[in-house]
């Protein structure tokens, strides 16, 4: 009869160990899922950092070329203005002569529709 209770004890202990094993497995599972979130987060952060760098370098490139563009535009403008100035120099006498001629070309006339009423 002592052997009976010993046997039962052994069985009970075996049950207890089995339950612990399963419980451990469950705890591991929970941890693994938490790990999934953490690792995913890290990978995502990594990706974000890469993309941010890409973006920054693209922006820098754009800023750089901006300076070039404005210089080009300025140059084109200056050339145009200079062209106009030299053109004006060349032609101003002719234009002035015409203009002044017309100012002084006075032709006193009465209106063509004017009717002489009694």
């Amino acid at each position: 009869m002592a052997s009976q209770s010993q046997g039962i004890q052994q069985l009970l202990q075996a049950e207890k160990r089995a339950a612990e094993k399963v419980a451990d497995a469950r705890k591991r599972k929970a941890r693994r899922l938490k790990q999934a979130k953490e690792e995913a987060q890290m990978e995502v952060e990594q990706y974000r950092r890469e993309r941010e760098q890409e973006f920054q370098s693209k922006q820098q490139a754009a800023m750089g070329s901006q300076g070039n563009l404005s210089a080009e535009v300025e140059q084109a403008t200056r050339r145009q203005v200079q062209g106009m100035q030299s053109s004006q120099q060349r032609n101003r006498e002719r234009v002035l002569a015409q203009l002044l001629g017309m100012v002084c070309d006075v032709r006193p006339q009465v209106h063509p529709n004017y009717r002489i009423t009694a």
């Binding site: 999934a36 693209k58 754009a62 053109s87 032609n91 101003r92 203009l99 002084c104 006075v106």
Partner: protein, 226 residues
């Protein structure tokens, strides 16, 4: 006794092994499932976040392009305005020179008198009122007087109307102006301006397209210009 101690022990050992095996299998099953779920969960999370980040940065990069285009367009616009302003300045300079030359021209009294004669007659024939007031610069009074005297017979002949012409003694054109006359109706409500400034202004305005063409060349953007 159905079983002796040995048999009982053996039985118990059997059962213990069975329990242990069951537990191991269950634990393995749980582990395998946990790996699977780990991979699925992680993959899913990474995927969704990555897509979001990708979208975000694609949009931002597109904005850079847009900003560039906007800035270029602004630059070009400002440049165009600068060119137009320069053109305007050049034309103003030309008109100032014209005024200077006119002012030098009227110093020659013979030339100026001839001009005034015609200016006065033209203004009178424009206004065609029975009573007219002629206004001039203070220094031109005598010249204008002579011009008016010459104009009256011509006017009467052309218009076939009698006329009375007064020379304004109260108000004069500014002494600094270039010359010419203004002619008013008797109640001063109608005015004909035949001063050199107004003629120059009117002419330059009317002839501006031509002036621009002469000074700067034809506009290359006009497709249907005859």
């Amino acid at each position: 006794m159905a079983l002796n101690d040995n048999d009982v022990q053996k039985q118990i050992k059997h059962m213990m092994a069975f329990i242990e095996q069951e537990a191991n299998e269950k634990a393995e099953e749980i582990d395998a499932k946990s790996e699977e779920e780990f991979n699925i969960e992680k993959g899913h999370l990474v995927q969704t976040q990555r897509l979001k980040i990708m979208d975000y940065y694609e949009k931002k990069e597109k904005q850079i392009e847009q900003q560039k285009k906007i800035q270029l367009s602004t630059l070009r616009n400002q440049a165009r305005l600068k060119v137009l302003a320069a053109r305007d300045d050049l034309i103003s300079e030309l008109l100032e020179e014209a005024k200077m030359r006119l002012s030098r021209m009227v110093v020659d009294l013979k030339v100026y008198q001839e001009l005034l004669d015609k200016l006065v007659l033209q203004a009178l024939l424009r206004l065609l009122e029975p009573v007219m007031i002629v206004r001039c610069r203070p220094q031109d009074s005598l010249l204008v007087d002579a011009a008016v005297q010459k104009a009256i017979p011509d006017y009467v002949m052309v218009s076939q109307k009698q006329v009375e012409i007064k020379i304004d003694q109260e108000t004069f054109l500014p002494a600094s102006s270039l010359g010419g006359v203004e002619v008013y109706s008797n109640n001063q409500k109608i005015k004909v301006s035949n001063t050199l400034e107004s003629r120059l202004e009117f002419l330059s305005e009317q002839k501006m397209p031509e002036i621009r063409r002469c000074l700067f060349g034809a506009n290359p953007n006009r497709k249907f210009f005859v």
